[in-house]
């Protein structure tokens, strides 16, 4: 049976995405969640780039942001896959690695990051392609700067693309690396990500 994204979304949202009435802490799927405005999530990343001197050191700063997301993807989604909610809702329908990725996409699409609308995992080559519509980076960037970007900006998504593969193939973090091959902050309405085995440490391929 294929992974039913609508059922997963309904079940996930049915768990209630709000903090506990007493503690204000939101534990779901084995992790502690918090909701922040996309203006803050994106703003802090561009504040970091700016504070590092902007363009000359941008590539290095981007690696810091992508690396954080890649570690996050590995740990977060491993925590999610270990959780009782995943074991009940999703695991029974997983027959292979493609199903596992599909389950991860279904959960990812519940978090307000935008929507993965298309994905392709090639097991032989260990590569992954996916595209995202409505990435939260795009509007937040345009609100902040009042214009399109000259370069791809969806750092969290880039780390997640590589993190998915680290997780799916059971390797240590940073075994894979990813790039954003198209970003709708530059133009168009889709962001696209491609992940593959890293040739070097820290993803400078």
């Amino acid at each position: 049976m294929a992974i039913d994204h609508d059922s997963i979304r309904n079940a996930f949202l049915g768990l209630g995405l709000v903090g506990d009435q007493q503690s204000g802490i939101l534990r779901r799927f084995g992790v502690i969640l918090a909701a922040n405005t996309s203006d803050f999530l994106v703003g802090r990343e561009f504040d970091l780039i700016d504070s590092m001197g902007g363009e000359p050191s941008r590539r290095l700063t981007e690696r810091v942001l992508i690396d954080a997301a890649q570690w996050c993807a590995n740990s977060t989604f491993q925590g999610i896959m270990d959780s009782p909610e995943w074991k009940t809702l999703i695991e029974p329908n997983i027959k292979n690695i493609q199903d596992r990725l599909s389950g991860l996409v279904a959960i990812t699409n519940c978090l307000g990051w935008g929507k993965i609308i298309d994905w392709h995992l090639t097991e032989e080559n260990k590569t992954l392609y996916f595209s995202v519509k409505y990435s939260y980076y795009v509007d937040a960037y345009k609100r902040r700067y009042g214009k399109n970007s000259a370069f791809p900006i969806c750092y969290m998504w880039t780390g997640v693309a590589a993190g998915y593969l680290d997780l799916l193939f059971g390797t240590s973090p940073n075994t894979f690396t990813a790039t954003e091959s198209n970003c709708s902050a530059i133009g168009g309405d889709l962001c696209a990500f491609e992940a593959k085995l890293a040739k070097t440490k820290f993803g400078f391929n």
């Binding site: 992790v31 922040n36 504040d47 996050c72 740990s75 925590g79």
Partner: protein, 183 residues
């Protein structure tokens, strides 16, 4: 409906787009792994003080601007203590933790966070990722959220208050505590 129910009612989910909003403001959920890793990356890159100031300022500015958009009904015409209580209830709903005003005086105040999201997240991951014990706080984004709430409650301009975390559970404290100073 009570305050909490009103706050929860402000959250809407567009499943077709996978976009979540609080009122008209786009929000997204991230977990302790991502937020603590990002924070660690900032500290490793900038050092403690610059990272603290950057995260505080970013959270402060964006929270203030967005609360002005979505919380006018809470803020307008209410007493400062009531506004703060309502905004802290909103922070609970968003998963930031449980914040309580301990003292309020003319030029500032003191807020306790028990618990506070970032401290809980840090402690959750510290051992797993072999991070050393801290002597300094981690709740800079919470400090920014508190600053925004304090300014709006007291009808102050953005940037009128400074909030410093003086006790942090991630650095061995029994809870987190924030000192507010009106500049």
């Amino acid at each position: 409906m009570g305050t909490r129910e009103n706050m929860i009612g402000m959250i809407s989910i567009n499943a077709e787009r996978s976009v979540i909003k609080l009122g008209d403001v786009e929000i997204a959920y991230h977990c302790d792994k991502f937020n603590t890793r990002i924070f660690k990356g900032f500290e490793d890159t900038l050092g403690f003080e610059k990272a603290r100031d950057l995260i505080f300022t970013s959270a402060h500015n964006t929270t203030y601007d967005n609360l002005v958009k979505i919380a006018t009904g809470i803020i307008a015409g209410s007493k400062p203590a009531d506004v703060i209580e309502s905004l802290f209830e909103l922070y609970k709903v968003l998963g930031y933790g449980n914040f309580m005003v301990q003292d309020a005086y003319e030029n500032g105040g003191r807020v306790k966070g028990d618990p506070s999201y970032m401290a809980e997240g840090w402690l959750e991951n510290q051992e797993k990722w072999h991070w050393t014990n801290r002597t300094q706080g981690v709740c800079h984004e919470e400090a920014g959220h508190i600053a925004a709430a304090w300014e709006l409650a007291h009808n102050l301009k953005k940037g009128s208050v400074r909030v410093i975390e003086t006790v942090c559970k991630a650095a061995g404290g029994p809870y987190c505590e924030f000192q507010i100073e009106v500049l």
